[in-house]
């Protein structure tokens, strides 16, 4: 195990490459069709750099599809997306976007710590060991660092995935249902880590059903059946309705 013990310090992230006056994410007439009808109707969305946004909507409303299209994991059917002016999935866009998926995927043969090392060094993070120790410490899984995450329970997998998503530098953090399966400690730690990321100027787009997260963001976007139904301040009274009403 590492000699690096969790500290409160965070690795500084090189922000020089980003034009913060630009939009972090812009979509124009974006659609997605998996072959049996549109999953996303033409969607126009502007997200300024540094914004914190909660993406809400019922199951099947298109949240995951939208997030994955921004990462480049899904092909665009029509329309455009730009990430700080770059095409999604392009090398430049990948440099800025970190994606925390709702279905964590791990190598069968690497430990949590090795995943962190692999990811961090892939992104050229110099002093990853300290950040890795900090992240694992905050999530309360430092002692599991040498274990294989592919054998973890749902909640532990989620914690490992959080650490892996946050170890790399990013300007945009796309998060899909991050609170599912987390215990109270994990939930608190994640909220703290998201706050830290926002404080560093990162743009957050978080798909969630978690009411406590909605209190922390100024802007909420609601989707239903692939259509943008609401885009406005979180305090708006209709937000609650979008969160709770049946489809």
């Amino acid at each position: 195990m590492s000699r690096h013990r969790p500290s409160r310090a965070h690795a500084d992230i090189d922000q020089s490459a980003v034009d913060h006056t630009a939009y972090a994410i812009r979509t124009h007439q974006l659609t997605k069709d998996y072959g049996d009808g549109p999953v996303l109707s033409p969607l126009d969305l502007d997200v300024a750099s540094g914004e914190r946004i909660a993406l809400i909507g019922h199951n099947g409303s298109g949240k995951t599809t939208l997030l994955r299209m921004i990462t480049g994991l899904l092909d665009i059917t029509s329309g455009t997306i730009s990430v700080f002016g770059h095409a999604p999935g392009s090398t430049q866009a990948r440099r800025h976007v970190s994606y925390l998926s709702d279905t964590p995927v791990f190598y069968d043969d690497l430990s949590v710590w090795e995943h962190l090392e692999y990811t961090a060094r892939m992104h050229g993070v110099a002093d990853w060991e300290q950040s890795a120790a900090d992240l694992l410490g905050q999530l309360g899984i430092y002692e599991r660092g040498d274990d294989l995450p592919s054998r973890f329970s749902r909640g532990l997998k989620q914690k490992a995935a959080i650490a892996i998503a946050l170890i790399r530098p990013f300007e945009v953090l796309l998060v899909d249902e991050p609170f599912v399966g987390l215990d109270a400690t994990g939930r608190e730690a994640l909220l703290g880590l998201l706050d830290d990321a926002a404080d560093r100027g990162a743009t957050l787009l978080v798909a969630t059903h978690e009411p406590s997260f909605l209190e922390r963001v100024p802007r909420v976007i609601a989707l239903r059946n692939g259509t943008l139904m609401f885009d406005g301040p979180a305090q708006d009274e209709s937000v609650g309705a979008w969160l709770h009403s049946p489809t």
Binding site: M1, S2, R3, R5, P6, G35, D36, T71, G72, L73, L74, D75, G89, T91, Q92, R94, R95, V97, Y99, S101, V105, F106, Y107, D108, D109, L110, S111, W113, E114, H115, E117, Y118, T119, R121, M122, H123, G124, A126, G137, Y142, E143, R144, G145, D146, I164, R168
Partner: protein, 842 residues
């Protein structure tokens, strides 16, 4: 209440004593000083003489305890530098120093407890009272107390009862080795990090540490020479993966400094550690024990970190090294041997079928004249398949984690994908060259030229076809050619080549002609044909150049499926392989059935359920079934015309048709939990589920008869007679495969472990093959008819006789499905009874 307070101390004496507490205690015992003994346990790794340092100044009244002489036996290589003394030796040493059974010993040193803890640990292991003086002699002096010089008044010798060192407190080398493999306890190593990593040469016999050990330098439990607070210690040990009740084994260089970790752990309230006395000095002296250097890291050097830049290749190499180290090479080689054994045996067997008589001159002429066209057709089909594969996201299959962690990172995707691409190409080339070489060898037995040259030419041709497939797939994927367009282009190429291959259009150029020439190199080599090799490599090259344009959506979808597919293949789980292949090629049931049937499904609705399933078959699956029927018809015709081995082809075709037609039954078995919840017997229900499948096979039967009958009208009657056995045997074979379900991975691995490998391997093959054999039996009427004709007897009568036998076999299979649960229960019961009886006898 702190955690520490909630724990019952093992012995009344406090584990750790501050100088103030010592002074207080000494005042309380002023009248009976014999009950407390201060022990000076200073010792120096660098060889300084501890006794003379003791004499130069020590706590008033303290006795000197020598780690080397009093607390250890003489060193032996594998027991380490400080093996535990014999109980008698220790008892004598203690008694000499005035330490009796009831004495409370307070040990100190000048390192915060690094050496004094050894005495504390040893005494407390025997249930005696011992405490560590926190801060040692330095804290004593710092508190303003004076030292005594020279030797303290010798104490009266007292009795100390010798006691065996308990296993509960000390771990043996065997235990540590077992633990290093199982990881059941946490092994902490108290040496400094550089010695742990093996960076420095020191007193250690060799650099490194016990595999799996975690570095917990003894100095980490101290701050300014004193122990950290229990809460701080808990944080420290938690970070090392130690929680409440974790089993901990403490080691170090020679079983001395580890004792400080033992004391600190107990003080933290987390756990009681066992001491591995031999420690690294003993472990490393045994050449048979494994060692590890560096920390637990993928990469042990910091080369990429220095440049601060990505080293994907280096990281991947490290992963591969790590994975290779885990491969069980013996087993891998055994698999290769078994595959060669079975494949080679099969090849010899099939070779025997081919008559070795050299072909006639006109046949040879035909081969060289028309051969290129038809062989070229196969190459064009490889291109067409490649185009389709690419349009569906092929041909690559990555790990899902690779897509998420590597392809989403800002790295050059082309470089990352190059290796998997070449690997995919290589494996395809290998398989195709093997098949081509085998076919060439068979051809070489009848054609002019040596078998070897024909085999080589066949292998070359196979390799080129595989290259075309890979290249076409890569290009069509990169260009994101829609599936329909890929099918159209591929279809057009096939039609073009087909037309040019027909004897009537012998002069028309076909796109595959040059490639079709390659396999004929067995006897005739034209340098111009090599152009096709260059074209194939060029297409592959273009595909490789366009690797950066691969769709991640396709990659991640395929990644998940291909992992499952590989697993299913290793288990010989045909059903799962079929399902995943369907998912890979996007073959989904139609939302609307072709025909809507009435809601009238007999007593339980199985007929209706089967019809719903079958009538939702997508067009591609229907086309596949239809072509399988035609292939079976052509093979049947071949059998009737005298090529008996084609019965194998026909049988396999009917087996595959059966698997498709019994899809509704397979669905039911895939969802066994549902079936079990129905209040009806399974066997009869399974049988009822096949009725509609049998009914919908009628058009296929008609197609089969028509294929044979129209091409050779003399066989109409025989085909009509043989169709029922052929279809029912195909369905029966498929039903056995479906109903038996997937092999149990646990049972099959147990089988392969317990049985001799040849037996287990053959048993596996038989298990996988016998459903197919049942289907092949369905072709017997055709063979019987042919042999009757050769003997001048009536073909129809022979066909009828064997047809009855075959239908009976199918009936037996149906009966087996019907009564399967009952048969199984009866067998289990019989087995149980025989066990009981044999126990009774013995």
């Amino acid at each position: 209440m702190s955690v520490l307070e909630s724990i019952e101390p093992k012995v009344p004496a406090p584990l750790v004593l501050s100088v103030e507490e010592l002074v207080e205690l000494a005042e309380g015992h002023a009248d009976a000083p014999g009950n407390i003994v201060l022990a000076d346990v200073r010792w120096y790794l660098d060889g300084r003489d501890a006794r003379s340092i003791y004499e130069a100044g020590h706590l008033p009244g303290a006795v000197f305890i020598d780690i080397d002489r009093d607390l250890s036996e003489p060193s032996t290589p594998t027991a380490g530098r400080h093996p535990l003394p014999s109980p008698e030796h220790f008892a004598r040493a203690m008694g000499r120093s005035g330490i009796g059974d009831d004495t409370h010993v307070i040990a100190y040193d000048d390192t915060g407890g690094m050496t004094a803890a050894r005495l504390v640990v040893m005494l407390r292991a025997l249930g005696r009272s011992a405490s560590l003086l926190d801060g040692g002699i330095s804290a004593w002096v710092a508190a303003g107390h004076g030292l005594e010089h020279g030797v303290s008044n010798p104490r009266a010798k007292v009795a100390f009862t010798a006691q065996v060192w308990p296993d509960t407190n000390f771990a043996s080398t065997e235990e540590v080795l077992a633990n290093s493999k199982s990881g059941s306890s946490v092994l902490i190593d108290a040496r400094p990090a550089d010695r742990f990593r093996g960076d420095v040469q020191s007193v250690d016999p060799k650099p490194g540490h016990i595999p799996g050990a975690r570095n917990a330098p003894w100095s980490s439990v101290l701050q300014e020479g004193k122990l950290l607070s229990p809460a701080e210690l808990r944080a420290h040990f938690t970070n090392l993966g130690i929680s409440r009740n974790t089993e901990v084994i403490a080691s170090c260089g020679s079983g001395v400094s580890a004792c400080l970790n033992v004391v600190a752990l107990e003080y933290s309230g987390l756990a009681n550690a066992r001491l591995f006395t031999a420690s690294w000095s003993g472990w490393a002296s045994d050449p048979d024990l494994p060692i590890e250097t560096g920390e637990h890291r993928l990469l042990r050097n910091g080369s990429c970190r220095d440049s601060g830049k990505v080293g994907v290749d280096e990281l991947r190499r490290a992963r591969r090294r790590k994975r290779m180290a885990e491969v069980e090479w013996f087993e891998a080689l055994y698999r290769v041997y078994l595959a060669a054994f079975i494949f080679g045996g099969g090849a010899l067997f099939v070779s025997g079928f081919v008559r070795d008589t050299p072909a006639g001159e006109s046949f040879v002429d035909d081969v060289f004249h028309f051969g290129p066209g038809w062989l070229g057709l196969l190459s064009v089909m490889a291109v067409a398949m490649g185009l389709r594969s690419g349009s569906r996201g092929g041909p690559l299959a990555l790990e899902e984690a690779e897509v998420r962690h590597v392809l989403l990172a800002p790295v050059d995707r082309r470089r990352v994908l190059l290796r998997p691409t070449l690997q995919r190409w290589r494996s395809l080339v290998f398989a195709a060259a093997l098949t081509g070489g085998f076919a060439g060898q068979l051809a070489g037995r009848r054609l002019p030229g040596t078998e070897l040259s024909w085999a080589m030419a066949g292998a070359l041709w196979g390799a080129v076809a595989a290259t075309f497939f890979t290249g076409a797939a890569l290009v069509s994927h990169a260009l994101r050619i829609p599936r329909s367009l890929a099918t159209m282009i591929g279809g057009a190429l096939i039609v073009w080549q087909f037309v040019s291959a027909l004897p009537a259009h012998a002069r028309l150029f076909g796109p595959g002609d040059a490639t079709g020439d390659l396999p004929l190199w067995g006897d005739r080599s034209r340098a111009s044909d090599l152009f096709t090799v260059i074209v194939a490599l060029a297409v592959l090259g273009i595909g490789v150049l366009m690797l950066g344009r691969q769709s991640l959506e396709a990659q991640s979808r395929r990644a998940a499926l291909v992992t499952q597919l590989r697993f299913a293949v290793t288990l010989q789980d045909l059903r799962t392989v079929l399902i995943i292949r369907r998912q890979l090629s996007h073959e989904q049931s139609r939302r609307r059935p072709w025909i809507r049937t009435k809601h009238d499904g007999g007593p339980y609705g199985e007929w209706q359920r089967t019809m719903h399933g079958l009538l939702r078959f997508p067009l591609s699956r229907i086309l596949r079934i239809v072509s399988l029927s035609s292939i079976a018809g052509l093979a049947g015709l071949g059998v009737l015309e005298g090529t008996a081995p084609l019965a194998l082809v026909g049988g396999v075709a009917f087996f595959l048709i059966g698997l498709e037609m019994l899809e509704p039954l397979a669905q039911e078995i895939d969802h066994g939990d549902r079936t079990d919840s129905y209040p009806i017997e399974r066997g009869p229900m399974y049988l009822r589920l096949t009725h509609a499948s049998l009914a919908l096979s009628v058009p296929l039967a008609a197609l089969w008869i028509a294929t044979i009958g129209t091409l050779h009208t003399q066989w109409w009657a025989v085909a009509g007679i043989s169709v029922l056995p052929a279809i029912t045997a195909g369905l029966a074979g498929a039903a056995i495969n479906i109903v038996s379900g997937a092999p149990d991975p646990v049972a099959s691995s147990a089988q392969s472990n317990l049985m001799p490998p040849e037996v287990a391997g053959t048993a596996n093959v038989i298990k996988a093959m016998w459903p197919v054999l049942i289907a092949v039996i369905g072709q017997i009427p055709l063979v019987a008819a042919r042999s009757a004709v050769e003997k001048g007897q009536g073909a129809e009568a022979a066909a009828v006789r064997s047809a009855i036998a075959v239908v009976l076999v199918s009936g037996l299979v149906a009966a087996w499905i019907h009564r399967r649960d009952a048969i199984r229960a009866w067998m289990d019961n019989a087995a149980r009874e025989s066990r009981t009886t044999s126990r009774g006898v013995s």
